[in-house]
Protein backbone atom coordinates (compact mmCIF):
# COMPACT_ATOMS: atom_id res chain seq x y z
CA UNK A 1 0.00 0.00 0.00
CA UNK A 2 2.91 2.36 0.62
CA UNK A 3 5.87 0.81 -1.17
CA UNK A 4 4.07 0.97 -4.48
CA UNK A 5 3.40 4.73 -4.34
CA UNK A 6 7.02 5.36 -3.35
CA UNK A 7 8.25 3.41 -6.38
CA UNK A 8 5.68 5.21 -8.46
CA UNK A 9 7.06 8.56 -7.30
CA UNK A 10 10.51 7.46 -8.44
CA UNK A 11 9.16 6.53 -11.86
CA UNK A 12 7.12 9.64 -12.39
CA UNK A 13 10.02 11.87 -11.36
CA UNK A 14 11.75 10.98 -14.64
CA UNK A 15 8.89 12.33 -16.75
CA UNK A 16 7.28 15.67 -17.43
CA UNK A 17 3.93 14.34 -16.19
CA UNK A 18 1.16 16.72 -15.33
CA UNK A 19 -2.15 15.71 -13.82
CA UNK A 20 -4.12 17.04 -16.76
CA UNK A 21 -2.20 15.12 -19.42
CA UNK A 22 -1.00 11.99 -17.71
CA UNK A 23 -1.09 9.74 -20.75
CA UNK A 24 1.09 11.91 -22.94
CA UNK A 25 3.90 12.30 -20.38
CA UNK A 26 7.34 12.21 -21.97
CA UNK A 27 10.34 10.45 -20.47
CA UNK A 28 13.07 12.87 -19.46
CA UNK A 29 15.55 10.51 -17.85
CA UNK A 30 17.30 12.54 -15.20
CA UNK A 31 16.18 15.76 -16.83
CA UNK A 32 14.17 16.93 -13.82
CA UNK A 33 17.10 16.29 -11.53
CA UNK A 34 19.57 18.31 -13.57
CA UNK A 35 17.03 21.04 -14.27
CA UNK A 36 16.60 21.63 -10.54
CA UNK A 37 20.14 22.92 -10.16
CA UNK A 38 19.49 25.69 -12.66
CA UNK A 39 16.29 26.58 -10.81
CA UNK A 40 17.11 29.45 -8.49
CA UNK A 41 13.98 28.92 -6.43
CA UNK A 42 15.12 25.38 -5.71
CA UNK A 43 18.71 26.27 -4.76
CA UNK A 44 17.39 29.05 -2.57
CA UNK A 45 14.85 26.74 -0.97
CA UNK A 46 17.68 24.37 -0.03
CA UNK A 47 19.11 27.04 2.23
CA UNK A 48 15.69 27.85 3.58
CA UNK A 49 15.22 24.17 4.40
CA UNK A 50 18.49 24.09 6.33
CA UNK A 51 17.62 27.27 8.23
CA UNK A 52 14.11 26.00 8.94
CA UNK A 53 15.29 22.64 10.27
CA UNK A 54 18.15 23.98 12.40
CA UNK A 55 16.15 26.79 14.00
CA UNK A 56 13.06 24.71 14.67
CA UNK A 57 14.59 21.42 15.77
CA UNK A 58 17.10 23.31 17.91
CA UNK A 59 14.44 25.67 19.22
CA UNK A 60 12.10 22.87 20.23
CA UNK A 61 14.92 21.11 22.04
CA UNK A 62 16.01 24.26 23.86
CA UNK A 63 12.46 24.92 25.07
CA UNK A 64 11.61 21.29 25.81
CA UNK A 65 14.67 20.43 27.92
CA UNK A 66 14.10 22.95 30.73
CA UNK A 67 10.38 22.16 30.69
CA UNK A 68 11.08 18.44 31.04
CA UNK A 69 13.55 19.09 33.86
CA UNK A 70 10.99 21.20 35.67
CA UNK A 71 8.24 18.58 35.24
CA UNK A 72 10.64 15.97 36.53
CA UNK A 73 11.02 17.66 39.89
CA UNK A 74 7.65 16.32 41.00
CA UNK A 75 6.02 19.45 42.38
CA UNK A 76 2.36 19.57 43.25
CA UNK A 77 0.08 19.93 40.23
CA UNK A 78 2.68 18.47 37.90
CA UNK A 79 0.12 16.30 36.16
CA UNK A 80 -2.00 19.32 35.38
CA UNK A 81 0.93 21.28 34.00
CA UNK A 82 1.93 18.33 31.86
CA UNK A 83 -1.60 18.03 30.47
CA UNK A 84 -1.80 21.79 29.85
CA UNK A 85 1.42 22.00 27.88
CA UNK A 86 0.40 19.04 25.74
CA UNK A 87 -2.71 20.84 24.51
CA UNK A 88 -0.88 22.80 21.75
CA UNK A 89 0.34 19.46 20.43
CA UNK A 90 -3.17 18.10 19.74
CA UNK A 91 -4.41 21.29 18.10
CA UNK A 92 -4.90 21.10 14.31
CA UNK A 93 -2.17 22.82 12.30
CA UNK A 94 -4.82 24.91 10.57
CA UNK A 95 -5.85 26.34 13.96
CA UNK A 96 -2.25 26.93 15.02
CA UNK A 97 -1.71 28.87 11.80
CA UNK A 98 -4.86 30.95 12.27
CA UNK A 99 -4.22 31.92 15.85
CA UNK A 100 -0.60 32.92 15.28
CA UNK A 101 -1.41 34.78 12.11
CA UNK A 102 -4.02 36.75 13.95
CA UNK A 103 -1.83 37.47 16.96
CA UNK A 104 0.83 38.98 14.70
CA UNK A 105 -1.57 40.76 12.37
CA UNK A 106 -0.33 44.22 11.38
CA UNK A 107 -3.59 45.97 12.34
CA UNK A 108 -5.32 43.84 14.95
CA UNK A 109 -2.43 41.79 16.29
CA UNK A 110 -1.74 41.61 20.00
CA UNK A 111 2.01 41.23 19.45
CA UNK A 112 2.34 44.67 17.87
CA UNK A 113 0.18 46.15 20.61
CA UNK A 114 2.30 44.69 23.42
CA UNK A 115 5.57 45.68 21.75
CA UNK A 116 4.29 49.22 21.13
CA UNK A 117 3.20 49.61 24.74
CA UNK A 118 6.54 48.35 25.97
CA UNK A 119 8.29 50.76 23.61
CA UNK A 120 10.23 47.99 21.88
CA UNK A 121 9.03 49.10 18.47
CA UNK A 122 8.01 52.55 17.27
CA UNK A 123 5.46 51.49 14.68
CA UNK A 124 3.58 48.31 13.86
CA UNK A 125 5.34 45.59 11.91
CA UNK A 126 3.63 43.58 9.17
CA UNK A 127 5.15 40.37 10.53
CA UNK A 128 3.87 38.01 7.86
CA UNK A 129 4.73 40.42 5.06
CA UNK A 130 8.45 40.78 5.78
CA UNK A 131 11.09 38.14 4.99
CA UNK A 132 12.79 37.73 8.37
CA UNK A 133 9.82 38.55 10.64
CA UNK A 134 7.65 36.01 8.81
CA UNK A 135 10.29 33.34 9.32
CA UNK A 136 10.50 34.20 13.02
CA UNK A 137 6.73 34.09 13.44
CA UNK A 138 6.24 30.80 11.58
CA UNK A 139 9.10 29.24 13.53
CA UNK A 140 7.67 30.47 16.82
CA UNK A 141 4.32 28.89 15.99
CA UNK A 142 6.05 25.66 15.00
CA UNK A 143 8.10 25.53 18.18
CA UNK A 144 4.99 26.31 20.24
CA UNK A 145 3.13 23.40 18.66
CA UNK A 146 6.11 21.05 18.61
CA UNK A 147 7.86 21.42 21.96
CA UNK A 148 5.23 19.57 24.06
CA UNK A 149 5.83 16.21 22.41
CA UNK A 150 9.57 16.76 22.73
CA UNK A 151 9.25 17.66 26.42
CA UNK A 152 7.06 14.72 27.36
CA UNK A 153 9.34 12.26 25.57
CA UNK A 154 12.33 13.74 27.39
CA UNK A 155 10.40 13.52 30.64
CA UNK A 156 9.79 9.81 30.05
CA UNK A 157 13.54 9.35 29.55
CA UNK A 158 14.33 11.41 32.66
CA UNK A 159 12.05 9.31 34.81
CA UNK A 160 13.93 6.09 34.14
CA UNK A 161 17.23 7.55 35.39
CA UNK A 162 17.77 5.76 38.72
CA UNK A 163 17.65 7.95 41.81
CA UNK A 164 20.72 6.12 43.16
CA UNK A 165 22.93 7.79 40.58
CA UNK A 166 22.03 11.24 41.90
CA UNK A 167 22.47 10.00 45.45
CA UNK A 168 25.93 8.69 44.64
CA UNK A 169 26.87 11.92 42.86
CA UNK A 170 25.68 13.94 45.83
CA UNK A 171 27.73 11.86 48.24
CA UNK A 172 30.74 12.44 46.01
CA UNK A 173 30.14 16.17 46.46
CA UNK A 174 28.59 17.04 43.11
CA UNK A 175 26.50 20.22 43.08
CA UNK A 176 23.23 20.65 41.22
CA UNK A 177 24.93 21.82 38.03
CA UNK A 178 27.47 19.01 38.11
CA UNK A 179 24.74 16.44 38.69
CA UNK A 180 23.02 17.83 35.63
CA UNK A 181 26.07 17.80 33.35
CA UNK A 182 27.63 14.59 34.67
CA UNK A 183 24.57 12.42 35.34
CA UNK A 184 21.45 13.74 33.64
CA UNK A 185 22.83 14.98 30.35
CA UNK A 186 24.94 11.94 29.41
CA UNK A 187 22.06 9.57 30.20
CA UNK A 188 19.63 11.76 28.32
CA UNK A 189 21.86 12.19 25.27
CA UNK A 190 20.71 9.10 23.31
CA UNK A 191 17.09 10.27 23.59
CA UNK A 192 17.96 13.86 22.67
CA UNK A 193 19.96 12.78 19.63
CA UNK A 194 17.25 10.40 18.45
CA UNK A 195 14.54 13.02 18.90
CA UNK A 196 16.60 15.60 17.02
CA UNK A 197 16.98 13.18 14.12
CA UNK A 198 13.27 12.34 13.99
CA UNK A 199 12.34 15.99 14.28
CA UNK A 200 14.77 16.97 11.53
CA UNK A 201 13.28 14.44 9.13
CA UNK A 202 9.78 15.51 10.06
CA UNK A 203 10.48 19.25 9.78
CA UNK A 204 12.28 18.94 6.46
CA UNK A 205 9.21 17.35 4.94
CA UNK A 206 6.60 19.47 6.68
CA UNK A 207 4.47 21.84 4.67
CA UNK A 208 1.44 22.66 6.81
CA UNK A 209 2.41 25.66 8.91
CA UNK A 210 4.52 27.46 6.31
CA UNK A 211 1.86 27.02 3.66
CA UNK A 212 -1.03 27.86 5.96
CA UNK A 213 0.59 30.95 7.46
CA UNK A 214 2.14 32.62 4.44
CA UNK A 215 1.90 30.35 1.36
CA UNK A 216 5.68 30.23 1.56
CA UNK A 217 5.90 33.98 1.11
CA UNK A 218 6.58 36.82 1.10
CA UNK A 219 7.99 36.05 -2.35
CA UNK A 220 9.91 32.81 -2.01
CA UNK A 221 11.36 33.72 1.38
CA UNK A 222 9.87 30.80 3.27
CA UNK A 223 10.00 28.23 0.48
CA UNK A 224 11.58 25.04 1.73
CA UNK A 225 12.09 22.22 -0.75
CA UNK A 226 8.95 20.49 0.54
CA UNK A 227 6.86 23.65 0.35
CA UNK A 228 8.13 24.45 -3.15
CA UNK A 229 7.35 20.96 -4.35
CA UNK A 230 3.90 21.04 -2.78
CA UNK A 231 3.03 24.40 -4.29
CA UNK A 232 4.12 23.24 -7.76
CA UNK A 233 1.81 20.25 -7.48
CA UNK A 234 -1.04 22.22 -6.02
CA UNK A 235 -1.02 25.30 -8.22
CA UNK A 236 0.28 23.91 -11.52
CA UNK A 237 -0.77 20.26 -11.17
CA UNK A 238 2.82 19.28 -12.01
CA UNK A 239 3.79 15.75 -10.99
CA UNK A 240 7.23 14.92 -12.39
CA UNK A 241 9.39 17.85 -11.35
CA UNK A 242 8.01 18.19 -7.79
CA UNK A 243 8.53 14.45 -7.25
CA UNK A 244 12.16 14.78 -8.30
CA UNK A 245 12.64 17.63 -5.79
CA UNK A 246 11.17 15.65 -2.89
CA UNK A 247 13.14 12.53 -3.80
CA UNK A 248 16.39 14.51 -3.76
CA UNK A 249 15.43 15.89 -0.37
CA UNK A 250 14.62 12.42 1.00
CA UNK A 251 17.85 10.92 -0.34
CA UNK A 252 19.96 13.69 1.18
CA UNK A 253 18.18 13.20 4.52
CA UNK A 254 18.60 9.43 4.36
CA UNK A 255 22.34 9.71 3.73
CA UNK A 256 22.69 12.34 6.46
CA UNK A 257 20.75 10.12 8.87
CA UNK A 258 23.00 7.14 8.22
CA UNK A 259 26.11 9.23 8.89
CA UNK A 260 24.49 10.74 11.95
CA UNK A 261 23.59 7.37 13.44
CA UNK A 262 27.04 5.99 12.63
CA UNK A 263 28.78 8.89 14.33
CA UNK A 264 26.57 8.54 17.40
CA UNK A 265 27.44 4.87 17.67
CA UNK A 266 31.12 5.58 17.21
CA UNK A 267 31.14 8.27 19.88
CA UNK A 268 29.33 5.89 22.22
CA UNK A 269 32.04 3.29 21.82
CA UNK A 270 34.55 5.80 23.13
CA UNK A 271 32.57 6.52 26.25
Amino acid sequence: MTIYPAMYALGISTTDANLLRLDSARALGLGNYTKAWDDEIFTESLWHTLRWVVVNAGGQMLVALPVALLLNTGFRGRGMVRAAILVPWVVPGAVVAIIWRYMVDANYGVLNDVLLRLGVIAETIAWIGEPLPSFIVISTATIWAGFPFFAVTLLAALQVIPEDLYEAARIDGAGAWQRFTKVTLPLLMPTILLLLLLRTIWLAHSVDLIFLMSNGGPGYNNYTVAVYSFILTWSQLLLGYPSALVIMLSVVLLIASVFYIRSIERSREWM
Binding site: A17, V87, Y108, A176, H205, L239
Partner: protein, 281 residues
Protein backbone atom coordinates in the same frame (compact mmCIF):
# COMPACT_ATOMS: atom_id res chain seq x y z
CA UNK B 1 8.03 11.66 45.01
CA UNK B 2 10.25 11.31 42.01
CA UNK B 3 12.62 14.04 43.10
CA UNK B 4 15.63 13.78 40.87
CA UNK B 5 17.83 16.23 42.67
CA UNK B 6 18.67 18.45 39.74
CA UNK B 7 16.67 21.49 40.67
CA UNK B 8 17.15 21.93 44.36
CA UNK B 9 14.86 24.94 44.49
CA UNK B 10 12.03 22.72 43.37
CA UNK B 11 9.54 23.47 46.09
CA UNK B 12 10.21 27.19 46.19
CA UNK B 13 8.41 30.04 44.45
CA UNK B 14 10.74 29.80 41.45
CA UNK B 15 9.24 26.44 40.50
CA UNK B 16 5.74 27.81 40.77
CA UNK B 17 6.63 30.84 38.68
CA UNK B 18 8.31 28.75 36.01
CA UNK B 19 5.37 26.34 35.90
CA UNK B 20 2.95 29.23 35.59
CA UNK B 21 4.98 30.76 32.78
CA UNK B 22 5.03 27.51 30.83
CA UNK B 23 1.29 26.99 31.21
CA UNK B 24 0.68 30.62 30.21
CA UNK B 25 2.72 30.29 27.02
CA UNK B 26 1.00 27.02 26.17
CA UNK B 27 -2.55 28.20 26.77
CA UNK B 28 -2.67 31.98 26.20
CA UNK B 29 -3.30 31.62 22.44
CA UNK B 30 -6.45 29.64 23.24
CA UNK B 31 -7.72 32.49 25.38
CA UNK B 32 -7.19 34.75 22.40
CA UNK B 33 -9.26 32.47 20.17
CA UNK B 34 -12.06 32.62 22.75
CA UNK B 35 -11.73 36.38 23.17
CA UNK B 36 -12.15 37.10 19.46
CA UNK B 37 -14.80 34.42 18.94
CA UNK B 38 -17.22 35.89 21.50
CA UNK B 39 -16.66 39.54 20.57
CA UNK B 40 -19.16 41.05 18.12
CA UNK B 41 -17.49 41.28 14.73
CA UNK B 42 -17.88 45.04 14.35
CA UNK B 43 -16.33 45.74 17.75
CA UNK B 44 -13.22 43.71 17.03
CA UNK B 45 -12.17 46.17 14.38
CA UNK B 46 -13.31 49.52 15.54
CA UNK B 47 -12.20 49.74 19.13
CA UNK B 48 -8.62 48.59 19.01
CA UNK B 49 -7.31 45.62 20.89
CA UNK B 50 -9.17 44.67 24.03
CA UNK B 51 -7.63 42.12 26.35
CA UNK B 52 -10.92 41.25 27.99
CA UNK B 53 -14.13 40.82 26.03
CA UNK B 54 -16.39 43.83 26.62
CA UNK B 55 -19.39 42.21 25.02
CA UNK B 56 -20.45 38.61 24.64
CA UNK B 57 -22.14 37.22 21.58
CA UNK B 58 -22.70 33.86 19.94
CA UNK B 59 -23.33 35.49 16.55
CA UNK B 60 -20.02 34.32 15.21
CA UNK B 61 -20.86 30.71 16.01
CA UNK B 62 -24.26 31.01 14.39
CA UNK B 63 -22.61 32.77 11.46
CA UNK B 64 -20.29 29.94 10.50
CA UNK B 65 -23.15 27.49 10.29
CA UNK B 66 -25.23 29.86 8.18
CA UNK B 67 -22.71 31.61 5.97
CA UNK B 68 -20.30 28.75 5.26
CA UNK B 69 -20.89 25.03 5.28
CA UNK B 70 -19.31 24.50 8.69
CA UNK B 71 -21.81 21.83 9.73
CA UNK B 72 -21.13 19.84 6.59
CA UNK B 73 -17.35 20.07 7.10
CA UNK B 74 -17.76 18.99 10.71
CA UNK B 75 -19.69 15.90 9.65
CA UNK B 76 -17.06 15.16 6.98
CA UNK B 77 -14.29 15.40 9.54
CA UNK B 78 -16.11 13.03 11.89
CA UNK B 79 -16.82 10.49 9.14
CA UNK B 80 -13.21 10.48 7.93
CA UNK B 81 -11.58 10.40 11.36
CA UNK B 82 -13.85 7.66 12.70
CA UNK B 83 -13.39 5.56 9.54
CA UNK B 84 -9.61 5.90 9.55
CA UNK B 85 -9.51 4.99 13.23
CA UNK B 86 -11.75 1.93 12.89
CA UNK B 87 -9.97 0.75 9.75
CA UNK B 88 -6.56 1.17 11.39
CA UNK B 89 -7.41 -0.57 14.65
CA UNK B 90 -9.05 -3.57 12.96
CA UNK B 91 -6.11 -4.02 10.58
CA UNK B 92 -3.41 -3.41 13.19
CA UNK B 93 -4.76 -5.67 15.94
CA UNK B 94 -4.27 -8.91 14.05
CA UNK B 95 -0.92 -7.91 12.63
CA UNK B 96 0.37 -6.62 15.95
CA UNK B 97 -0.67 -9.76 17.81
CA UNK B 98 1.09 -11.90 15.23
CA UNK B 99 4.27 -9.81 15.44
CA UNK B 100 4.30 -9.95 19.21
CA UNK B 101 3.47 -13.63 19.69
CA UNK B 102 4.66 -15.63 16.70
CA UNK B 103 8.16 -16.05 15.44
CA UNK B 104 7.82 -16.50 11.73
CA UNK B 105 10.16 -16.18 8.80
CA UNK B 106 10.62 -12.58 7.69
CA UNK B 107 9.19 -11.17 10.91
CA UNK B 108 12.11 -8.81 11.52
CA UNK B 109 12.15 -7.68 7.92
CA UNK B 110 8.44 -6.91 8.07
CA UNK B 111 8.78 -4.92 11.30
CA UNK B 112 11.69 -2.90 9.91
CA UNK B 113 9.90 -2.18 6.65
CA UNK B 114 6.84 -1.15 8.62
CA UNK B 115 8.88 1.44 10.49
CA UNK B 116 10.47 2.61 7.23
CA UNK B 117 7.04 3.05 5.70
CA UNK B 118 5.98 5.02 8.72
CA UNK B 119 8.95 7.31 8.16
CA UNK B 120 8.08 7.94 4.51
CA UNK B 121 7.01 11.57 4.31
CA UNK B 122 3.46 12.36 3.27
CA UNK B 123 4.73 14.85 0.74
CA UNK B 124 6.52 12.06 -1.13
CA UNK B 125 3.32 10.03 -1.37
CA UNK B 126 1.19 12.96 -2.44
CA UNK B 127 1.85 12.75 -6.18
CA UNK B 128 1.53 8.98 -6.58
CA UNK B 129 -1.66 8.98 -4.53
CA UNK B 130 -3.12 11.73 -6.64
CA UNK B 131 -2.48 9.73 -9.78
CA UNK B 132 -3.80 6.51 -8.27
CA UNK B 133 -6.94 8.16 -6.92
CA UNK B 134 -7.54 9.87 -10.23
CA UNK B 135 -7.13 6.62 -12.12
CA UNK B 136 -9.54 4.93 -9.75
CA UNK B 137 -11.86 7.89 -10.10
CA UNK B 138 -12.11 8.44 -6.34
CA UNK B 139 -10.60 11.92 -6.03
CA UNK B 140 -12.96 14.04 -3.96
CA UNK B 141 -14.51 11.10 -2.13
CA UNK B 142 -14.22 9.82 1.44
CA UNK B 143 -12.37 6.61 0.42
CA UNK B 144 -9.52 8.64 -1.11
CA UNK B 145 -8.88 10.55 2.07
CA UNK B 146 -9.38 7.51 4.30
CA UNK B 147 -6.92 5.42 2.28
CA UNK B 148 -4.39 8.25 2.14
CA UNK B 149 -4.40 8.71 5.90
CA UNK B 150 -4.37 4.97 6.54
CA UNK B 151 -0.98 4.69 4.81
CA UNK B 152 0.47 6.45 7.83
CA UNK B 153 -1.95 5.32 10.49
CA UNK B 154 -1.73 1.56 9.95
CA UNK B 155 2.08 1.22 10.32
CA UNK B 156 1.86 3.40 13.41
CA UNK B 157 -0.98 1.35 14.89
CA UNK B 158 0.79 -1.94 14.25
CA UNK B 159 3.99 -0.64 15.79
CA UNK B 160 2.33 0.73 18.93
CA UNK B 161 0.15 -2.35 19.48
CA UNK B 162 3.03 -4.76 18.82
CA UNK B 163 4.94 -3.05 21.61
CA UNK B 164 1.89 -3.27 23.81
CA UNK B 165 1.18 -6.95 23.21
CA UNK B 166 4.86 -7.73 23.70
CA UNK B 167 4.71 -6.11 27.14
CA UNK B 168 1.86 -8.39 28.26
CA UNK B 169 2.88 -11.63 29.94
CA UNK B 170 2.64 -14.60 27.59
CA UNK B 171 1.89 -16.95 30.50
CA UNK B 172 -1.72 -15.82 30.86
CA UNK B 173 -2.55 -16.90 27.34
CA UNK B 174 -0.63 -20.14 27.79
CA UNK B 175 -2.59 -20.84 30.94
CA UNK B 176 -5.83 -20.23 29.04
CA UNK B 177 -4.71 -22.66 26.37
CA UNK B 178 -3.89 -25.28 28.99
CA UNK B 179 -7.40 -24.77 30.33
CA UNK B 180 -8.82 -25.63 26.93
CA UNK B 181 -8.97 -22.32 25.08
CA UNK B 182 -7.77 -22.39 21.50
CA UNK B 183 -5.25 -19.87 20.21
CA UNK B 184 -7.96 -17.57 18.87
CA UNK B 185 -9.90 -17.75 22.12
CA UNK B 186 -6.77 -16.96 24.11
CA UNK B 187 -6.22 -13.89 21.99
CA UNK B 188 -9.80 -12.66 22.08
CA UNK B 189 -10.58 -13.42 25.73
CA UNK B 190 -7.23 -12.85 27.42
CA UNK B 191 -4.89 -10.68 25.35
CA UNK B 192 -7.47 -8.35 23.84
CA UNK B 193 -9.07 -7.19 27.11
CA UNK B 194 -5.62 -6.66 28.62
CA UNK B 195 -4.59 -4.61 25.63
CA UNK B 196 -7.48 -2.16 25.94
CA UNK B 197 -5.30 0.71 27.24
CA UNK B 198 -2.95 0.25 24.31
CA UNK B 199 -5.85 0.12 21.89
CA UNK B 200 -7.34 3.30 23.36
CA UNK B 201 -4.00 5.08 23.00
CA UNK B 202 -3.55 3.93 19.40
CA UNK B 203 -7.11 4.86 18.49
CA UNK B 204 -6.72 8.32 20.00
CA UNK B 205 -3.45 9.01 18.25
CA UNK B 206 -4.94 7.98 14.93
CA UNK B 207 -8.15 9.92 15.50
CA UNK B 208 -6.30 13.12 16.42
CA UNK B 209 -3.88 12.80 13.50
CA UNK B 210 -6.76 12.25 11.10
CA UNK B 211 -8.85 15.08 12.52
CA UNK B 212 -5.90 17.45 12.19
CA UNK B 213 -4.67 16.26 8.81
CA UNK B 214 -4.35 19.11 6.37
CA UNK B 215 -2.07 18.04 3.53
CA UNK B 216 -4.00 15.04 2.23
CA UNK B 217 -7.38 16.61 2.94
CA UNK B 218 -6.41 19.74 1.06
CA UNK B 219 -5.23 17.84 -2.00
CA UNK B 220 -7.87 15.13 -2.19
CA UNK B 221 -11.06 16.83 -1.02
CA UNK B 222 -11.58 20.13 -2.75
CA UNK B 223 -15.33 19.75 -3.18
CA UNK B 224 -17.71 20.93 -0.48
CA UNK B 225 -19.34 17.51 -0.04
CA UNK B 226 -16.16 15.94 1.39
CA UNK B 227 -14.21 19.00 2.56
CA UNK B 228 -12.92 18.63 6.13
CA UNK B 229 -12.54 21.30 8.81
CA UNK B 230 -8.85 22.19 8.39
CA UNK B 231 -9.42 22.79 4.67
CA UNK B 232 -12.48 24.92 5.39
CA UNK B 233 -10.55 26.95 7.96
CA UNK B 234 -7.89 27.77 5.41
CA UNK B 235 -10.58 28.97 3.01
CA UNK B 236 -11.90 31.28 5.73
CA UNK B 237 -8.57 33.00 6.08
CA UNK B 238 -7.52 32.98 2.45
CA UNK B 239 -11.01 34.03 1.35
CA UNK B 240 -11.15 36.75 -1.28
CA UNK B 241 -14.07 38.52 0.28
CA UNK B 242 -12.25 39.78 3.35
CA UNK B 243 -11.70 37.87 6.57
CA UNK B 244 -14.34 37.75 9.30
CA UNK B 245 -11.98 37.08 12.16
CA UNK B 246 -14.75 36.55 14.70
CA UNK B 247 -16.14 33.72 12.61
CA UNK B 248 -12.69 32.34 11.88
CA UNK B 249 -12.02 32.10 15.60
CA UNK B 250 -15.42 30.56 16.29
CA UNK B 251 -14.62 27.96 13.65
CA UNK B 252 -11.14 27.40 15.06
CA UNK B 253 -12.63 26.90 18.52
CA UNK B 254 -15.17 24.33 17.36
CA UNK B 255 -12.50 22.54 15.34
CA UNK B 256 -10.19 22.31 18.34
CA UNK B 257 -12.74 21.33 20.98
CA UNK B 258 -13.32 17.67 19.99
CA UNK B 259 -9.63 16.76 20.01
CA UNK B 260 -8.86 18.89 23.06
CA UNK B 261 -11.67 17.22 25.05
CA UNK B 262 -10.73 13.74 23.85
CA UNK B 263 -7.16 14.46 24.82
CA UNK B 264 -7.95 15.77 28.29
CA UNK B 265 -10.21 12.79 29.01
CA UNK B 266 -7.77 10.16 27.86
CA UNK B 267 -4.42 11.87 28.38
CA UNK B 268 -3.21 9.20 30.79
CA UNK B 269 -3.48 6.58 28.06
CA UNK B 270 -1.81 8.88 25.56
CA UNK B 271 1.09 9.76 27.79
CA UNK B 272 1.64 6.13 28.71
CA UNK B 273 1.57 5.29 25.01
CA UNK B 274 4.09 8.05 24.29
CA UNK B 275 6.33 6.93 27.10
CA UNK B 276 6.24 3.29 26.00
CA UNK B 277 7.16 4.31 22.48
CA UNK B 278 9.94 6.58 23.63
CA UNK B 279 11.53 4.04 25.92
CA UNK B 280 11.42 1.30 23.36
CA UNK B 281 11.99 3.35 20.23
Amino acid sequence: MGAQGVLDWRKGPATGLAAFLIVFVALAPFYWIFNIAVTPEEQSFTQGIRYLPTAFTLDNFVGIFEAVSFGRAFVNSVVVAVSVTAFTIVLSLGAAYAFARFNFRGRRLLIVSLLLIYMLPGILLLVPMMVIFRTLGILNTYPALILAEATHAVPFGVWLLTNYFASLPRELEEAAQVDGCDRMGAMLRIALPLAVPGIVAAALFVFIASWNNFLFAFMFTSGESVRTLPVLLRMFVMGESGVYWGRVMAGAMLTTLPVAIAFLFFQRYLIRGLAAGAVKG
